[in-house]
Symmetry: C3
């Protein structure tokens, strides 16, 4: 980024949280999708219902064709310079569902960066050809900066954060919420449920986002299950206390399985760990085994953001309480809902 923009950006960074969230809105609606915390209960419910409607309408060919004609005039840029098969495919097929045409850049070598172009100019270039930029980038602030920069031009288009560094991944949070919403649809909704989160709670951003969003729901009870050195961090702990959410931390997974309504498993992200003594097998206590199925509630669900390694026995997959494959598909539906919302066609869908 050029020096001029860098200074302006630093000024913006110092504004209040409230001012920032307002900046990424237009006409009282969320414009850029950057943080999980942009979504309030009302919107979470709305998007979940919209996703379900899209899912049901798409089942029949006539319905699928109706959806596909809604946004034929829109074009999306998928800028995925950080590899991510799952999120990429999910967004691409969400675009397909609504008839959005796509362009993609999946590595940096095809980019003009080698010619010395600033990332500001690269983003403006993308915005010249399309109507929305869906971006996954290893730099923590990249997507937020991109949205901020485009908002200062005379042709602002929305930016959707499809994952930025280890920080934010708001559409993952949305698909987790949607999966809970769907799972508890006939059990009074998410309010009052017991959610158990297991694994790498320190580094896993899905856990963080989901936990922060729990404040939008009533009477939640959360269990955090992790080895001590991978337990949730202090900022989340403070947040939960301040928000008066009931929560417990322990490394005894077996003790809480029977009382959980949802068990959210995560992968221990030790790919880059120096401490080679902590092998995968030392995390066996934080795995969901075939035997655990027998103590799990009949109407509970097992979730996982995927990819998994050994945290869930593959034999669990065929149990109907294992919803992680459905959760993956939910990502496509909720992203389609989000794109429909961004382009103001939600009413045309709900009225079908």
């Amino acid at each position: 980024m050029t020096e001029y923009f860098e200074l302006e950006w630093q000024k913006f960074q110092k504004t209040s949280e409230e001012a920032k969230l307002a900046f990424f809105q237009k006409e009282g609606r969320i414009f850029d999708i950057l943080f999980a915390r942009q979504f309030e209960r009302k919107q979470l419910d709305f998007l979940s219902n919209l996703a379900t409607k899209i899912r049901l309408v798409a089942k029949r060919k006539e319905g699928a064709d109706y959806l596909r004609r809604l946004l034929t005039h829109k074009k999306a840029m998928l800028y995925f310079v950080q590899p991510s098969t799952r999120t990429y495919l999910s967004f691409l097929n969400a675009c397909h569902i609504l008839g959005i045409k796509t362009s993609d850049i999946r590595d940096t070598f095809t980019s003009s960066e080698i010619k010395g172009e600033s990332s500001y100019d690269t983003i403006r270039t993308f915005s010249s050809y399309v109507d929305v930029i869906i971006s996954r980038h290893p730099e923590k602030d990249f997507n937020q900066k991109a949205a901020w920069l485009l908002n200062s031009t005379d042709r602002p288009i929305p930016v959707v954060n499809a994952g930025s560094g280890k920080d934010e991944h708001p559409t993952q949070a949305l698909l987790d919420i949607y999966t809970l919403h769907r799972s508890f649809e006939h059990r009074g909704g998410i309010d009052g449920k017991v959610i158990t989160m297991v694994g790498d709670l320190k580094r896993g951003r899905t856990i963080r986002s989901l936990s922060f969003l729990m404040k939008e729901y009533k009477n939640m009870k959360l269990y955090f299950i992790a080895p001590k050195h991978l337990m949730i961090e202090e900022d989340l702990r403070s947040f939960l206390k301040k928000s008066r959410i009931e929560f417990y931390e322990t490394d005894n997974f077996a003790s809480v399985i029977a009382q959980s309504d949802a068990i959210y498993m995560t992968r221990i992200q030790d790919e880059h760990d120096n401490d080679k003594e902590k092998t995968q097998s030392s995390y066996d206590d934080f795995s969901f085994t075939y035997e655990h199925l027998s103590i799990l509630k009949k109407d509970a669900v097992i979730m996982h953001p995927l990819p998994r390694r050994n945290e869930i026995d593959v034999r669990v997959d065929s149990d109907e309480r294992a919803v992680y494959w459905r959760q993956e598909r939910n990502g496509m539906w909720i992203r389609a809902a989000l794109l429909a919302y961004i382009f103001h066609v939600e009413k045309s869908i709900l009225d079908v």
Copy 2:
């Protein structure tokens, strides 16, 4: 693949040939497209006629638009981790013809494999977003395994083998059959024709698949022309004898040209040969030269699976008996026919 699935897979591998072919069917139709030997005469004729119908209907804009609307609600995954321009483009454009939306992964770096995911999970992930997986993979068994795994889930989708290692490449066999079918349409069909296959008969999988399929036709006469060390292998020889197909092996190409109805040239695949003494020029006797055109029958055809090196003089290209470029296009039409069959819209096409 996880240990659990590996054991189950080994069990499956030990079942009979018949049981295997049945496993990859649903409701009396071929579901997964994995082996050339899945196709019987009836299906070969049917798909050939369907391909021709698609080709003719697509000539006019209204026809092309009719075809393109048939499968607008379907999504395909093109998983091509082994490079193949020709097969990739052919399948992609076959999808375009029928309005199927596509996602593609063309290298392994964008995949989740680096995060330690099993290939089982990768395939299930793909299946979450699409309705068919078209896969080309260097591992011999990969595509078959993928189909087998998906059939054990509650959301099985068909897998199309677009080439797996040196083993099977069923849609290449289909396009070869379709090219013979089209070439002899006004000469009584394929039955009773003399087919000469030239070049690397040991390693070329196209030759093997095509030869095996010859048992579906009557009164065929086959010539195999190759240097001794590249001649067909014993298993094919036994098969031909058992199937009572008339065939001859020789290294004298010139002697059979005049009596051939189709000459199928192939590339000597010596890229990785250690024996550097066998240079390309030492294979000159297994090339189709400009001079050969004068002794070739007036209504014979020259085929080649492509890519070629020096096996066919480029000046032959403009002779109307050279059908290898048409053969390449036939690949697109027969793949479109196959996709139409997979998604049960063949009737909507034939009734046009």
Copy 3:
């Protein structure tokens, strides 16, 4: 390329300029888009007006849908073995606008070249599946050769040169002309205007193409502003003299800003310069600064082919005379116009 074709190609190369341009025409229309000099004033005006019509029609959903249905039966190949985000995205989205289905090859590793295939065969292969090849290639003559080769087959399809080496980039010239056309639409058109070109005039092919096209316009006045070692080359100088176009060369940028109607900035392409003493800052005199805005005519325009480095202060971007971002979008519109022309649907657009 095989020896046979190489000899034929050399023969073709020796034909007259006139014969060459005629060779790339069919039925009195330009067929292959290879050189900026293929376009005469009449065509430049026609394509500019067509681009404007497309741009206006696409503003409304019904209009966008009308355009998108025009070429649903056509398929394009984007062959971009030389990286170029901008040109790639521009062509891809131009295809999207008209409903053309696309296939792309963006690196050489996925190609059959590794199997020893000639580039002639590669191009013929592409032509088997699609209706137009849009090609960007580092070799100077590649695209021209490709067009020439396909014209000798029984299934010729047009080739569009999307940049070949340092030589020709005709669609960049078209978009520059279109930008001037649009900018001076209400000021009597391009004729009689003062155009100032700044920067690397020796290596920049955009400058060369645009300067050559200036002979199609009346009473032009050109200023070339560059450091001495990057000034225009003798062949362009001779051309301008012969064509009686008024032009001046100087290194004093400031002196001509006030009288310019268009200022065309370009990047100093010193990425591969050995002379490391010439740093970017030594080219400061060839930059458009924020202060320059105050001496620029009220209705002048600032252009740039992009990507830029420091030649234009980012604060200039928000001035309404800065049209380089619009110029970038113009590239998409004029390429859509060109594709509409290639496939003979221009009348269906102009009659809307």
